[in-house]
Structures are given as structure tokens and as C-alpha cells.
Amino acid sequence: MASSSKPSFGRQNVGRRNFLKGTATGAAALAAGVKPARAQQSEPARSATAAVATQEKDPSPSVEVLTADHPGSDFMVDVIKALGFDYIFANPGSSFRGLHESVVNYGGNKSPEFLTCCHEESSVAMAHGYAKIEGKPTCVLAHGTVGLQHASMAIYNAYVDRVPVFMIIGNTLDAATRRPGVEWAHSVQDAAILVRDFTKWDDAPVSLQHFAESAVRAYKMAMTPPTMPVLLVADGDLQESPMRERPHIPKITLASPPQGDSGAVAQAARMLVDAENPVIVADRCARTPQGLKALIELAETLGAPVINQYGRMNFPSAHRLNQTERSRALIANADVILGLEVWDFWGTINNLRDQVQRTTRPLTKPNTKMIAISATDLNTKSNYQDFQRFPDLDVSMAADSEATLPALTEACKRLLTGDRKRNFEDRASKLAEARQQARERLRTEASYAWDASPISTARMAMEIWAQIKDKDWSLVSNNAWPQRLWSFDKHYQYIGGAGGAGVGYGAPAALGAAVANKKYGRLSINIQNDGDLMYAPGVLWTSAHHSIPLLSVMHNNRAYHQEVMHLQRMANRHQRGITTAEIGTTIKNPNIDYAAMARSMGVHGEGPITDPKDLAPALKRALEVVARGEPALVDVVTQPR
């Protein structure tokens, strides 16, 4: 806050519509701005509110001020620019109209650029995908009420996925200044409470100085592992009231990520070096080029297999120590398991049968030692139960895995002897051989139903791969066959899944990731589930309107297929109606023409394609469009999975 000897440039107690600026009135308002609220109550006759109210009854055109040169929202844009946001993803909303206008006119609609979204859930999911490519959050604007309600599922996904998103929501707290009608419906006492269970931090600043400090604090907290969404409320009065003096924007210094305790690192290193069959399981671990390099170095130092659970890119798919396809056998034979940001450690080492009796059994040997490194331990909330079942661990580090890997690798190297090195190299050679056999089996499996219609998902994946493999590509969706058959080796080539498994993430997250990839000239590929697209088809329009190069290939199985399987399970369990699982779970009759839908929103559309022979030509045509900087969609009617 400004000192008491200066005028207050924070929240004015003069509402935006009531701000009348005659010389005397302005002075009164300014003085009132620094007066404690209690004093105002005891001296109502001298309060600015009273002065304004008197004039409001009989406004004189000669003194009524209808313009404001420096609204608070301009300063908010200064803060947003200082935080380095390239984009704002938003559906427009009156509760942040001041900020919106400042972004476009005061800020020049550049860094950040306002990208028009058709739903707040899409805005947040786009920011989710963007952050996974760019490694930093971008900004989302939304109404504090209806917008945030729309956005909430996407915020939950980002929270579970431990991805930073920076939300600013509009609200008008002062009831005395709200417009009658809709603005009341769009106002809320405590806006953030709706999502407080699944955001890391929020605040509702009451002055511009407060806004600046909270914005920097929020950014820093969002970026400190475990990274998560944060939220600020931009009060309507604060946005639209004039600013008299520019508050200070604090220096933005990010916290270094938490690294594992040196004693625990040394203990883990000793266990790993002594192990005969260590296994490294990586989930939301390596998200940067340095992270990939660090995980490779640890695996190669130990000659240990890596199982990729695909929460992030983590590990090159073609590396000889990538043993993901042999996960079950390796876990069963392991004497030490190192889990790196593993979301479900218990589920990794145990099996639960989804039958009437939910029986469990361990997948490991009785004396297998468990080491976990996870930043999630530093910030876990109680209400939403995404933290999974509690595993038996021998070493647990509440730390960022990626930041801890170099120290762990160095600790392992210090313990190496010549014998161990030779042992590890032998192990790595055997693993490489087993990996090659597993890969051959996969290629054989991919060949089944190769010419089928509906088209097999393996065929679709390999038709795409044939077109993109020599380009600088980025897969901005979460799909099974590409993970197994394509060659991934860069951190931006894979972004993981939704986190909370909330459907409606896929299409906007892919677009957000494509926005991030655009400036690097990368080719973004999205294998798009049909049910997911129907949650947020407006992203097609957004991609065309803003010329975002993105190839979307529909995995169109005409169903919410996971739910088809769940319903089948219930019918079988109840021994009745096993032919009715498609009721309420499929998306057919009529079949949706996604290519036509894309074209209706300005996106190049191909399909529906049912003959695999038609796929390559369609992909080539679509890629020509994407090469020109525009989006394209190829609708492929596929096998279920």
C-alpha cells in the first residue's frame, strides 16, 4: 500500500460508475481513500460516498466525468506483462471487461495476446496443454462465478496433473456499486472457494499494490514444485477505477525446486547400486531437456530399466533401457524400485481386481525395497482423493524428482566399483536384447487387423508416423500406439494425459500445446477422441480464428468407449442384458460428421475415412494445410482401442 502521506492508489471507495470528478469531489474522494473505514462510518457527512451519493441524485453534466485515462486495469496489464505471459486464453466476460480492454488497447494485444475461447473449460485446458510444452503457465481470464464454474473441471485436471495455470477472475465485491440484475448474479463473496480444494493458492486483492504482490506470489507458487493452478480475483472496481500513481511490481524470483535430502539421497544410492534387479519407474518426472538427460544418466549409470508411465515425456522411447513394455515382469522380479513422481505407487506394485469382491495382491516379491521421490508429498489436500492408496516405502523424499536426479546419479557414481560397472553393463545388454524382442512382439501385434474397417488404431498411428517422422513434430495428445511404435526423444514430443481424467481436456489441451509449439515451428499432432471433442468443439473455431497450425486426427470410435466397457462389466456381473451396453454410451445414430463440423468452423476437414487405404492421401492433404499455418482435421472411423 502507498504510505499515508500519499494518496491511496489502491481500491477506491468511490465506485466506478459514481466517480464524479469535480475538483472538490475529487479531493474528497482522494482523501477518503486513505481514511480508515471506521472513521468513515463515524463521519458520514464527510465521506466521499456521501458526497458522491448527493451528486448522483442530481448529476450535473458540467461536472460529471465520463472518462478515465489510467484505469487500474492498465496496471494489471503491466503486472501481467511483467510475469511474461505470452497469451491470455479467455471467453469474454463483463466482470473483467476493464482488464480485457486494457489487454487489447493499453497492452496492444501483444505479450499477452488475447485468444478467444468458446468455453472457460477450454480456456483452462488450453493453458494446461500450453504449460506442458512451454514449461510455464499462461494466463486465463474468466468470470468469478459462471466462468469459474465452467472452468472448474479443467482446473481440477491441471491440479491432479500438477501443472501450473494462472487464473484471473472478475468479480464485483462492493454490493453498493453493482449494476442491477446480471451483475449481482455474477458476483460472489468468496469466488475462489469453488476451486480452493484443487488450487494451490488464491487471493482477492483490494488494492493495486496488493494485486501486484499477490500476482507475483501466485506465479512463484504456481511454478514451485509441485506446480499447480493458482487464482487471483480482479475486483471490478479495482479494474475500472482510475489509477493515480503506479504501484510497485515486486521482483520476480522463482524458488529453486526442492531437492532430496542428502542423507536420503545417499541411502537411495546405496540401495540402487547394491540391487541386482533395480527398476526405475517414471511418471510425472522429466519435463525438460535437462530432465530427460538426467534420467538417462541415472539409468545408464545403473544399467537399470526404466518404465515410463507417461505422465510426462520422461525417457526416449528407443533407448535400450526403456523397458516399458516389460513392466509387469520387471516389477515382479525387482529387488529395488525407484518411483519418480509416480502418481499411483501403490497401484504400480499391487493389483486390484475389479470384480464383485475387490481382491488385491502384490505384484512384487516380499522383500522388494521401495524408494519414492515426489513433490506431491509437499502439498496434498484432503477433500479430493487423487492421492491414491498409501504404499509401503523404505525411502521417501518429499522433493522434485527432476531436481534430485543429478545428486542421486552422482551419489550412485561415487559408490561404483569396477565389478559393479561390469555387472551393470551386462545387465544393460540383456535388457537391450529383451527390449528388442518386446518391440518385435509389438510390431507383430500391430499387424493384426491391419486392413480392417473400422481402421485399427495401430494402422492409424503408423500412417501418421509415416507422414511426420522426418519433421520436427510434437504429439499433443495421449495415445497408446504412438508411445509404443513412434520414436520419441525430445521433451516436447509428449505431454502426458489430463491428470484428473476429466473428459473435455483433450481437444483444448492439444490446441494450447499447439499454440506453444507455434513459435518454434513445430508440427503439432493431436489424435483426438470423438467423445472428448464433443465437450468442446468450439476449440476448432478458436484454432481457425487464430491460425494455429494443428493436425487433429480423429480416433472416432463413435462412443464414450471407457463407459461402454464399464456398463458391460455391470451387465455381466448382474447376469442380464449383456447386449445393452451401448445404450447411453455411444455416439451414433446419427453419426457425427467431424470433417463437416471442422469445415463449418473454418478448419480444413477430411473424412470420414473408413478404408485404411484412403488415410495416407488424406493425411498428406491435411498436412499441406498445417504447413501453411492453419489447422486441419482428418476424421478416421476406428476400432474401439
Binding site: R353, D354, Q355, E440, R443, T444, E445, A446, S447, Y448, A449, W450, D451, A452, P454, S456, T457, R459, M462, E463, W465, A466, K469, A480, W481, R484, L485, H561, V564, M565, Q568, R569, A571, N572, R573, Q575, R576, I578, T579, A581, Q639, P640, R641
Partner: protein, 112 residues
């Protein structure tokens, strides 16, 4: 190793029992309508993370039927109350009728 031997012997014993003749065309329809395709693919090719490939060259009939009735893994049970033995026979005939794909070496896209 012991488990492997038991499995091998069991399969070998099952393999000696010939599969009853079924109607493959009807079996394909049942494979769809009973929801088998959901996890195993419409051509029984299997699905990553959902269910293994079932054809061509399915496991011995007795083993398939036994597992169908009393699965030991994640698969939901198909009891005799909802799938008759005749239906199982037809479905099995369909699995036997699934054509072998071309060799991997003859599929250029799988050799990239």
C-alpha cells in the same frame, strides 16, 4: 518356471480336446452384440490395455470357455445364464476364422 510348466501342460491337455463345430458368421455377430469387441477389438486383434488378441489361432476351446465362465483376471464373467454353450461355440468358430495378417516384413509402415 514351475508355473510355466503347469500352464504348458494344461494348455497341452486342453489342446487335445477338439473344438465343437460352430457357426463363425453368427459368432462374429455375437462377438459384437455381447460386447467382446469392446476390449478385444472388432477383429479380435486385442486392445492395448484392455484385452489380449483372441484370434487367429485362439487358445484351446476348453480354456477359452473356462476363462469366459470364470475369469481369473479383470475380465467380466460371461456365465451360462447370459451366454449359452452354443453361443460360445459360435464365438469360438469366429475366432478360428480370423485371418492371419500379412507378415510384418511385408508391411512397410511397420518397418519405418
Amino acid at each position: 518356471m514351475r508355473l510355466f510348466l503347469i500352464a504348458f501342460i494344461t494348455i497341452a491337455l486342453f489342446a487335445q480336446a477338439p473344438a465343437p463345430a460352430g457357426n463363425a458368421q453368427n459368432g462374429r455377430k455375437l462377438f459384437e452384440s455381447y460386447g467382446c469387441y469392446q476390449c478385444h477389438g472388432r477383429e479380435a486383434q486385442g486392445g492395448l490395455g484392455t484385452g489380449p488378441r483372441l484370434g487367429p489361432k485362439p487358445l484351446p476351446f476348453v480354456a477359452v470357455q473356462k476363462y469366459l465362465r470364470q475369469p481369473t483376471g479383470q475380465m467380466p464373467p460371461y456365465t451360462a445364464k447370459v451366454v449359452s454353450d452354443k453361443d460360445v461355440t459360435d464365438i469360438y468358430a469366429f475366432l478360428q476364422s480370423v485371418k492371419q495378417p500379412p507378415p510384418v516384413k511385408d508391411i512397410p509402415l511397420l518397418n519405418n
